[in-house]
């Protein structure tokens, strides 16, 4: 699978749904017979995986005070892992 790049547009896979768990106040990514409890940074990234945002736009929104370079690589790392589990889909950005 190709590397995720800054211009790609990630979104939740159809089979996945993000919801808040009222008991723990954590976000959970639900999919068939599974639930992935997300930490705060992961949940923040996933909430932004919508509305045709690019990886770069997501990183920019989250990089308040932190170096953009590092935030971008964190975003790509999480998205790569979730794509391997088929919980997100990537629409390739213009090269």
């Amino acid at each position: 699978m190709s590397r995720i790049s800054a211009g790609d547009r990630p979104r939740l896979a159809r089979r996945a749904r993000l919801r808040l768990d009222e008991l723990s106040r954590a976000h959970v990514l639900l999919s068939p017979e599974r639930g992935l409890v997300l930490n705060e940074p992961a949940a923040a990234i996933l909430r932004l995986c919508a509305d045709d945002r690019t990886v770069e736009q997501i990183a920019q929104q989250l990089a308040t005070g932190a170096p953009l370079e590092r935030v971008r690589s964190d975003v790509i790392e999480l998205l790569s892992e979730l794509r391997a589990r088929r919980l997100i889909e990537i629409e390739a950005g213009a090269a």
Binding site: R15, R17, R19, S31, P32, E33
Partner: protein, 367 residues
Amino acid sequence: MSAPRPWTLIAELTYACPLRCAYCSNPLELNGPSTPLGTADWRRVLGEAQALGVMQAHFTGGEPLLYPDLGPLVGDARSLGLYTTLVTSGIPLDRARLQTLAERGLEHVQLSIQALEPETSRAVCGRDALAHKLRVATWVKELGMSLTLNVVVSRLNIHELPQLIELAERIEPDRLELAHAQYLGWALRNRDRLLPSAESLAQARAVTREAQARLGGRFEISAVLPDYHAGRPRACMDGWARSYLVVTPFGKLLPCHAAHALPLDFDDVRSAPLAELWERSPALQQYRGTDWMQEPCASCSERDRDAAGCRCQAFELTGDASAPDPACRLTPAHHLVRAARERAENPEPSALQLRRPPRDRVLECKS
């Protein structure tokens, strides 16, 4: 001790089913007169399960499509935020009803495939409905829901595994589940006809591994091997009354599908609020944690991982529900499992006993 948080509610809406699978986990007999849960009961169960922390609702049976109010219950579950799964044979289903279920919020369909060859299918479950099941699979995908194909693997169909995987490749589900029969209830009665030989299992394992490596990017293939051959017990249901709540058509609150066979007095969900039963039901408390365990489990380093295996299997094989699961090679009763495995190398011809038509049983029970 305080009760753990349950994540999944398994709602067995009815024991009625158009199939008669030789490995069905439903009870062999329905004991005594009892009243099935009604839709208002199920609604309360869904709401109270959600409040306890449940995030997944599986509608199953029997065949849940035979429960007339399945649609409203799916709608309820979804509006509670639960991830909704229908576990079905797909047989009494047309596209219009599936579309209604999708509109009510159904997200995932787990469709059973018993076998490919009509003859094999009739041997396993009393009929052949593959052509219809393939149509159902197509509709599930067209309607935008997630699709799992579930195959219960046994001696009867294990030779079809390569073709079953090819079929899945054509359908492209989200998941293909190759789950070995578990030898409880009907499957235990039929064990000598269902348990595969070591050689055919080794072949099946190789075929599965090859397919997982080749198809991993397209869909997931999960394989559950028989614990009879593993030498280690499986962590049944993640541990007794830990992550799963099972509610039967007659309202019993169980820790797993098969626990109705145990000599325990399971509570009726109509008798008290679900949270109270989940926390205090003596039957659910019975095998929580590790204090109840016998040796060699009590001092075993694996006890937290496998929770001493399956209570139902321990009971059905040894007569003692708190015994170590004989699937484990470290346990005194493992010879029972070994003997069954040895018989599977040279099985004697014996008749397969299909599950009796459950609809009649339900009616009998009501009268």
